[in-house]
């Protein structure tokens, strides 16, 4: 079918386009039977790392092009520079984000997502999925930020915001869509948003309800896909925050999608995984581009008559060494917040000195330096003073002094502390029976065994063997005494896992909970100030209190 109407030859027209003969038209091209290229720029799990930061890239990061030795890493202005450069170097293009742009640095704690939404809008983002951390300052806050500052679509097909009793539910329904078709020069791309469900059970808002009815993604995706196809979508993709395992299963099981753009597990995959759908035999690329503003992904597709013919992928590492510039528009937005933060928080204020890198993960996969610091500081804090403490390892997000070399010292700043402990969690105390302590630590062993036998909790007053083979906790000592299953123990933990976050349901059901309101970050800050030289004689050392066995 030929394209329709209005085609003007502009031979020699100077000043409007280029110096060489060309042709300018306003026609929608006739795509039937032709190869059509689409470029998708992908970001995910930025977690408020809008400003560059220091860290030590892992072996996997190195393999993906993020080399050691850069002055700093990440930063939204650098991402925007790459995103705009790549979109200028593409024909039809979309920028999609797989969620969790909120939470992870002080800029979120202070401005509750305003900087993230303004910054992403300035990158030219087309759409983002609503993920779990978008609710971290409440559902109403998400609405306010998007309604006030958002310039992109917010998608989620598996959240149903239809509770008339809860005002924010109606608000979110107003600013979000289950799916949308993006039309680019005749190509119609259907995008279905998929939030994750596993973390929602632990995110609370006032009365412990977000007013969200969760819909089964295996029902909603075929429905939305059929709707999009009926509206003329050439291809349909899911923009997902469900995590890699669920994305792979979705690609294998649901017939009517062509592509999965995912996030949540903070993994970057280059090249993308390709899943063969078990019903159609179609090969479905599954793309994840990592977290913390470390990477920007570019996926190029060739599509013919609705069939994804071939794909190509490039992952761009974001660091001072790999990105030559910063986007001026995003830089100017961020400067407003950065100046304010510097004045109010004195982020450069030194609160202690580290003589070695303070790690969030243990060298054996068991207890860690920062984990032991945190748990000990929690249970010893005046007014808390419990027998034991347990906190989730993922509540500690980065090492302190990540680039510290042997023989050097590192000034620990307020900024370091916020980057390492971004969550505004508080200490919750409760009484557990000995059997509940056993259940709690068994769960830690089970969850850790699913993650390479790296302990998913950090403890104080407890010593145990984490058997990842049998997925149980053994040889449990409480302050040096074997666990008494019939005994009673007072626990300090964080309010996130106390509400059942990360699957700690045995804590959620406890009726003796008391939220002290004491900020864990403030407790750790006080501990660092008190000890000052770390690790020194402090508790910030690995002592084998969690012994992994596999």
């Amino acid at each position: 079918m030929p394209a329709s109407t209005l085609s003007i030859a502009l031979l020699g027209l100077v000043g409007c386009t280029s110096m060489v003969p060309t042709e300018t038209t306003w026609d929608v091209p006739a795509l039937a039977g032709q190869d059509v290229r689409l470029t998708i720029i992908h970001t995910s799990d930025i977690h408020s790392r809008l400003l560059p930061y220091q860290f030590d890239p892992s072996f996997t990061d190195n393999g993906l092009g993020l080399a050691d030795g850069a002055t700093d890493y990440g930063g939204l202005a650098r991402m925007a520079y790459v995103i705009k450069r790549e979109r200028e170097n593409a024909g039809r293009s979309l920028h999609l984000d797989s969620g969790d742009c909120f939470q992870g640095a002080i800029i979120f704690n202070e401005y509750e997502g305003e900087a993230e939404v303004r910054g992403l809008t300035a990158t030219g983002l087309n759409a983002a999925v609503i993920a779990n951390h978008e609710f971290d300052s409440g559902a109403h806050n998400l609405f306010s930020q998007i309604a006030g500052h958002g310039g992109y679509d917010l998608l989620a097909a598996n959240y149903d915001f239809e509770s008339s009793d809860l005002p924010w539910s109606n608000e979110l329904e107003r600013v979000s869509l289950p799916s949308k078709i993006y039309e680019m020069d005749g190509l119609r791309v259907g995008v279905i948003g998929l939030g994750n469900l596993s973390s929602l059970n632990s995110i609370h808002d006032e009365d412990n309800s977000l007013g969200i009815t969760v819909r089964d993604e295996y029902e909603v995706v075929p429905q939305e896909a059929a709707l999009l196809r009926a509206q003329g979508a050439d291809i349909v993709l899911t923009l997902s925050h469900m995590g890699l395992d669920d994305d792979l299963e979705m690609a294998a099981e649901v017939s009517d999608i062509d592509l999965v753009i995912g996030g949540h597990h903070h993994v970057a995959i280059d090249p993308p995984l390709v899943v063969t759908n078990r019903h159609t035999g179609k090969r479905i690329p599954v793309v994840h581009s990592g977290a913390f503003a470390k990477f920007v992904g570019r996926l190029d597709l060739v599509i013919r008559d609705g069939e994804l013919m071939s794909h190509d992928y490039t992952l761009f590492p974001i660091s001072s060494e790999t990105v030559a510039g910063e986007d001026a528009e995003v830089t100017n937005i961020l400067l407003e917040y950065q100046d304010d933060l510097d004045q109010r928080y004195k982020l450069d204020q030194v609160i202690g000195v580290a003589t070695q890198r303070l790690t969030r993960y243990g060298t054996t996969g068991g207890d860690s330096m920062l984990g032991n610091c945190t748990a000990e500081a929690m249970r010893a804090y005046p007014g808390v003073e419990t027998e034991i403490a347990v906190t989730n390892t993922l509540g500690i997000r980065s090492d302190i002094g990540a680039t510290l070399e042997e023989g050097e010292t590192w000034d620990i700043t307020v900024d370091d502390l916020f980057n390492s402990m971004p969550f505004d969690n508080t200490i919750t105390t409760m009484f557990l029976s000995g059997r509940e302590v056993q259940e709690l630590l068994d769960y830690v062993a089970w969850r850790s065994s699913e993650r390479g036998c790296n302990s998913q909790a950090q403890v104080a007053g407890i010593r145990f063997t984490m058997n990842c083979k049998d997925r149980i906790a053994e040889d449990i000592l409480i302050n040096g005494v074997p666990l008494d299953l019939d005994g009673t123990y007072e626990l300090a933990t964080n309010n996130y896992i106390a509400h059942g976050g990360s699957g700690f349901s045995m804590l959620e059901r406890n009726t003796t909970q008391y939220d002290t309101g004491v900020s864990i970050r403030d407790v750790v800050k006080a501990y660092i100030v008190d000890q000052y030289d770390l690790p020194g004689d402090s508790a910030c050392v690995e002592d084998g209190r969690i012994l992994p066995v596999f």
Partner: protein, 236 residues
């Protein structure tokens, strides 16, 4: 009036031709999913005809370069071809295609920046695809230069269905496999990195029928005399 419209900011798409690229393969032996061509590291020549088309799908007399690449797989060297009066006919040299492989031709603007010609990003791929057999473990490993693994950073499947690929060890973040159909010492084994503990069905002696993953070279420390191993992995 129309010329003025062409200069305003509110116009829709300002099109640079060609809009489409159509590729015809001038050979018969392309392989099929049931009868694939043998996997090979040797250079292969593929004869093609490439035509540039305008917005209506009619021939467009393009003169300029097109960038060429192979997905998945690698070209023999970085390549482009020059289209004259809308047509290129000639050979493309490549190696290491595997599974369903297509050659891309795309208009990324002229290599010679002096012309100032804007790219249209029109892209065409070979169709039907070339079908190559999947590489065996030994074929993944057996290369002359361990630092230039031809499958580095490629997502592929290991040829397993007609072989005897067994789990020979299990670790906390992956497992080892060996292709028993090959002789001992034929580089017929590698490590599969799974990030976390392999699923329960991955046990010693289990036979694999399907193993997809991204291939990454692991180079042992320089002081070690051992040969580098290669690790298709399912996650990064």
């Amino acid at each position: 009036m129309l010329l003025l419209l062409a200069c305003t900011q509110n116009t829709p798409v300002e099109r640079v031709e060609p809009t489409f690229i159509y590729v015809t393969v001038l050979e018969d032996e392309l392989g099929t999913v049931d009868a694939p061509l043998p996997f090979s590291s040797e250079t292969t020549q593929l004869s093609v005809r490439v035509e540039t088309l305008d917005v209506n799908g009619d021939p467009w007399p393009h003169n300029g370069d097109l960038v060429v690449k192979l997905r998945p797989g690698r070209l023999d060297q970085a390549q482009w071809v020059t289209v004259t009066d809308g047509v290129y006919e000639g050979d493309i040299a490549f190696a290491n295609g595997f599974a369903s492989t297509r050659v891309w031709f795309s208009d990324e603007g002229d290599k010679d920046a002096g012309t100032g010609r804007e790219p249209s990003f029109a892209t065409g791929v070979t169709d039907p695809p070339l079908w190559y057999a999947l590489p065996t473990l030994a074929e993944i490993n057996e290369i002359d230069d361990p630092e230039s693994n031809q499958l580095e950073n490629e997502f592929t499947e290991v040829r397993a269905i007609d072989r005897d690929v067994r789990v020979t060890a299990v670790g906390t973040n992956g497992f080892w496999i060996t292709d028993m159909a090959d002789e001992v010492g034929s580089y017929n084994n590698l490590f599969v990195y799974t990030f976390s503990r392999p699923r329960d069905e991955v046990v010693l002696g289990a036979r694999l029928s399907l193993l997809p993953g991204a291939n990454q070279e692991y180079l042992a420390p320089r002081s070690s005399p051992s040969r580098p191993t290669r690790s298709p992995r399912t996650r990064s």
